[in-house]
């Protein structure tokens, strides 16, 4: 573990947007109690997928983007991450495996560590609107996961 304190992202974000002249602080969506469900089977029998905020189809204008379920075979070699708020001073996203672990998952499936990698991965847009995320994007991804008989979804936002 790092010996430094974790970055206080909520406070940092509030101050950052206040400095940009926005007078209303962002309110993060949150559960009242933590949801929890176990897959109920060993890892070697689990189908695994990935949910990412990296953009596979940047040609769709940002304000109109919705959740998408995309075959892993159509995952771009390089996603578009330019509009996401990662730390552009400290690092880069040129290495896809630093945020999208398809190669590792394929290897684990080949070794029998997991049952398989699901047919599709899922894009979730970073949305200001709680309603869009909670009542449209999340249910859309959950439906697709059920269709693909997914047991474990790894949410890996940038």
């Amino acid at each position: 573990m790092s010996d430094q304190a974790f970055v206080p992202y909520m406070e940092r974000t509030r101050l950052f947007y206040r400095a940009q002249g926005f007078d209303k602080d962002y309110v993060w969506a949150h559960f009242e109690t933590t949801p929890f469900l176990s897959p109920g089977k060993p890892l070697k029998d689990c189908v695994v997928t990935v949910v990412t905020t990296a953009v596979a189809h940047p040609e769709i204008p940002k304000p109109t983007r919705k959740a998408q379920s995309i075959p892993f075979t159509q995952a771009p070699a390089q996603f578009d991450t330019s509009e996401l708020s990662w730390d552009k001073q400290a690092t880069h996203t040129d290495d896809r495996q630093s945020y999208f672990p398809l190669e590792v998952l394929n290897e684990l499936a080949g070794q029998g560590f997991i049952e398989s990698v699901s047919r599709r991965f899922h894009f979730v847009p970073t949305q200001y609107s709680h309603r869009a995320t909670l009542s449209e994007d999340a249910p859309s991804i959950a439906r697709a996961c059920r269709e693909d008989e997914v047991d474990i979804a790894l949410l890996i936002p940038l």
């Binding site: 400095a19 002249g21 993060w28 690092t91 630093s98 684990l108 449209e136 890996i156």
Partner: protein, 104 residues
């Protein structure tokens, strides 16, 4: 860490790295593989909600923790300009009708 714990997620693996490389520093395959293995173990093995902090660490300058979205006298004007640009762009998008349509 603070946002995710505020949201209350069932399982969370924290890598204390700059945003952008949640699985590990670019090209650090060892950490990237370890992250996936730890996340899968949490998903299949945890009996209750859990936050796990990995031993992954940033090998570059530690200044990233101070610098991310920092506001100080050197960038106040630039941030105000960015805010204005952001508001102008939103207004433009609205005028063009660029917004999400509800799913049918």
């Amino acid at each position: 860490m603070d946002i995710v714990t505020h949201c209350k997620v069932p399982r969370y693996l924290h890598n204390d790295l700059p945003l952008g490389n949640p699985l590990g520093t670019p090209y650090d395959r060892k950490t990237q593989i370890a992250s996936v293995l730890s996340a899968l173990s949490l998903a299949a093995g945890a009996k209750q909600s859990v936050v796990e902090i990995s031993d992954a660490s940033w090998t570059g300058s530690p200044a990233w923790k101070e610098n991310y979205n920092k506001v100080d006298e050197t960038n106040r004007e630039e941030l105000l300009r960015l805010g204005e640009e952001n508001r102008r762009k939103r207004a433009e998008n609205k005028a063009l009708g660029l917004s999400r349509q509800p799913r049918p």
